[in-house]
């Protein structure tokens, strides 16, 4: 079919663009510490080091070599997963920290994306279906509220209300104890501890999906094919979810990549406020401690996560929407 081949061409273009973005990330991540004013050695090698340790590190990172050699070394290190050792937690390898922290942040982001999509989209559909009624007004008003309050403010509010006034949720940490009898027990503990951070991270986007879905549907509901679906003898629910939501869905999906991008930034804030030991907190601490290898690695991983999820969202969008890459 004609559309399949142009779809492939479309995806190929995307792949090329994302590869270019990936290359840019690699370059920027390499350049930033080196273009900052001052001697690169003082940036990469912490001030409190002995001359011996310093020399050893300079050697290890190849910081006394020409720039192009440094770049090759940098690439080799990245592709072998060698991000050096942390200055602040010397001599813990950076990769060890990442491996410990990354899943926690992925969990936080995954939960937040899932919750905002799974609640936000049906809520938007519900509001559009009841356009102008009280249900719609309540949904729109509360979405507007969550859309306008700053995330840090909501975080503090939640800590205050559920940490002090009605202390039903923990306000810090990822788990209550270090040892769990089973994975299920660990997961339950983790979920309980992350209620507040996940709510904080979801609210803004949940409201966003609600608005998007509502707006997208309000455009679609007066369309002929909706009236036709209705007169085919389908029930209201079948018309809404079988005919109105599917064409409204792809534009919402494009927001997914965007949300994950914003979440990476949000993770730094939320993890810091809720003392959640994830990548965001690691990055924040690394910045305070001028722990350059960790900064570089966390930046790299967050950027790759964002890029990867945006890419996936876009591919998914292309596959789902037959109109993309259609008959031009």
């Amino acid at each position: 079919m004609a559309s399949t081949s142009s779809k492939k061409a479309y995806i190929a273009t995307r792949v090329r663009n994302y590869l270019a973005a990936f290359a840019a990330i690699l370059a920027v991540n390499f350049a930033i510490p080196r273009v900052m004013p001052g001697d690169p050695t003082t940036r990469f090698v912490g001030p409190g080091f002995t001359a011996e340790a310093r020399q050893q590190l300079l050697q290890e990172f190849g910081l006394n070599r020409p720039l192009w050699e440094q770049f090759l070394l940098y690439l080799t290190n990245i592709f072998t997963g060698d991000f050096g050792v942390s200055f602040a937690r010397y001599p813990t390898p950076v990769m060890e920290l990442i491996v410990e922290r990354l899943p926690r942040t992925l969990y936080l982001m995954g939960a937040s994306v899932t919750i905002s999509v799974v609640i936000g989209i049906p809520l938007g559909a519900f509001a559009a279906w009841n356009f102008g009624e009280r249900e719609d007004l309540i949904t729109t008003q509360s979405s507007l509220f969550f859309r306008s309050i700053p995330t840090f403010w909501l975080a503090i509010l939640l800590v205050f209300v559920f940490g002090y006034l009605i202390p039903i949720f923990p306000i810090s940490g990822a788990t209550g104890s270090a040892n769990h009898p089973s994975f299920i027990a660990y997961f339950v503990d983790l979920t309980y501890h992350t209620v507040l951070p996940v709510v904080t991270m979801s609210a803004y986007f949940l409201a966003g999906y609600t608005f998007l879905m509502r707006g997208s549907l309000l455009d679609i509901l007066p369309e002929n094919y909706i009236k036709i679906a209705e007169s085919k003898g389908l029930s209201e629910r079948q018309v809404l979810f079988g005919h109105a939501v599917p064409p409204a869905f792809p534009p919402v999906l494009t927001q997914l990549g965007f949300q994950i991008g914003r979440l990476a930034g949000g993770a730094v804030l939320v993890e810091t406020v809720f003392s959640y030991p994830g990548m965001g907190q690691l990055m924040f601490e690394a910045v305070l401690a001028r722990d350059y290898p960790v900064i570089q690695a966390t930046f790299f991983f967050l950027a790759i996560m964002v890029l990867g999820s945006m890419f996936l969202a876009e591919i998914l969008y292309t596959i789902i929407d037959p109109r993309i890459g259609g008959s031009e």
């Binding site: 002929n224 094919y225 036709i228 007169s231 003898g233 029930s235 599917p246 929407d321 259609g326």
Partner: protein, 337 residues
């Protein structure tokens, strides 16, 4: 299919569809002054008959069609009258209780067939859907049935796998017809089936409707603002003005001897290629405001024959000849226009 054939032979006496005093209004809420889009309409359609409904834009044609298939938008409401379909009253029932009639017995080609298909579903899926909803054809045979339907409207069966944006305007209109006849309905409503198509395709579509009707023997309501377009196709024509049917007659009678001034003016305004454009009659003035229609004859403001009586009283729809009805106090004078 055999079920439908049985029903067909069982019910030959009496009209297929009989509409009595139907009124459909639009309003946003209770405080809103309603738009009286359809206001006390009566007509009948027999099996195998084609009823043409004409009238200028906004006079309530689509509203009438949507009332029959019970697919009015949320603001629209049937406020009075009855719709009898095969003897069963379907106008006053809640929408949820007429689902079995929709599409299986009464179906519709919607105005604006360009948007008749959901952009993210294949054409075939959408034609198949009513077969599933009404369980018309056994599941395993639906695929084949869809292909047959597409062939019936002169489309390649492969169109089933295509998405709407891959079809041309004329193809979409034909696919919409295939979708409308999927369940072999008893009544087909075709709302502006030829508008927005080029002339050649228009003729094709009209011929196709005629042929399908000969095949399937459904009653048909063809709606158009263009009298010329549906004149040949229709057995009977109803002329609608400001929410009311003001004249109805067999197509030929209406053409030869209209008894309502509005019909006469419509006929005079038909575009004849031999007539220079400056001699084509147009109807001066604007249609009545359906929120606040005039109390007398709704056409009085634009009618060359209007008198005091016309402005004071509403002319009833009366028999003026054989199978011929008109709502005009001065219908005898219409021939002089």
């Amino acid at each position: 299919m055999s079920k439908q054939i049985q029903e067909r032979s069982a019910d030959t006496a009496g009209a297929l569809l009989s509409v009595q005093n139907l009124s459909t209004y639009y309003s946003e809420d209770e405080t809103d002054v309603p738009v009286r889009a359809v206001d006390g309409v009566n007509f009948e359609i027999a099996r195998g008959e084609t009823y043409g409904l004409v009238g200028e834009s906004g006079c309530g044609k689509s509203t009438l069609g949507l009332s029959l298939i019970r697919a009015l938008p949320p603001q629209g409401d049937i406020v009075d009258g009855e719709i009898r379909f095969e003897g069963r009253e379907i106008g006053q029932l809640p929408k949820s209780e007429v689902k079995d009639v929709q599409w299986a017995d009464i179906s519709m080609i919607y105005q604006g067939a360009q948007n008749a298909f959901n952009p993210v579903k294949t054409v075939g899926d959408q034609i198949r859907e009513p077969l599933r909803v009404h369980n018309i054809v056994p599941e395993g045979e639906r695929e084949r049935r869809v292909r047959e339907l597409l062939e019936k409207v002169n489309l390649q069966p492969d169109v089933a796998e295509q998405y709407p944006h891959e079809l041309s305007g004329g193809m979409k209109q034909r696919a919409a017809i295939a979708m409308a006849i999927a369940c072999e309905p008893d009544l087909l409503i075709a709302d502006e089936p030829t508008t927005a198509l080029d002339v050649i395709v228009q003729a094709e579509v009209l011929n196709m409707l005629q042929q399908l009707q000969d095949d399937l023997n459904f009653g048909m309501l063809v709606i158009s603002h263009n009298l010329a377009a549906i004149m040949k196709l229709s057995d009977r024509i109803g002329v609608m003005y400001g929410g009311k049917i003001v004249e109805s007659a067999p197509a030929e009678t209406l053409y030869d001897a209209p008894e309502h001034p509005y019909t006469a003016l419509l006929l005079q305004s038909l575009i004849d290629p031999r007539r220079p454009p400056d001699q084509v009659e147009t109807i001066e003035g604007t249609p009545p405001d359906l929120r606040d229609p005039p109390s007398g004859c709704r056409f009085a403001g634009r009618c060359p024959l209007a008198t005091e009586q016309c402005r004071d009283m509403e002319p009833p729809l009366e028999v003026v000849g054989e199978a011929h009805e008109a709502a005009c106090f001065h219908h005898e004078e219409v021939s002089e226009l």
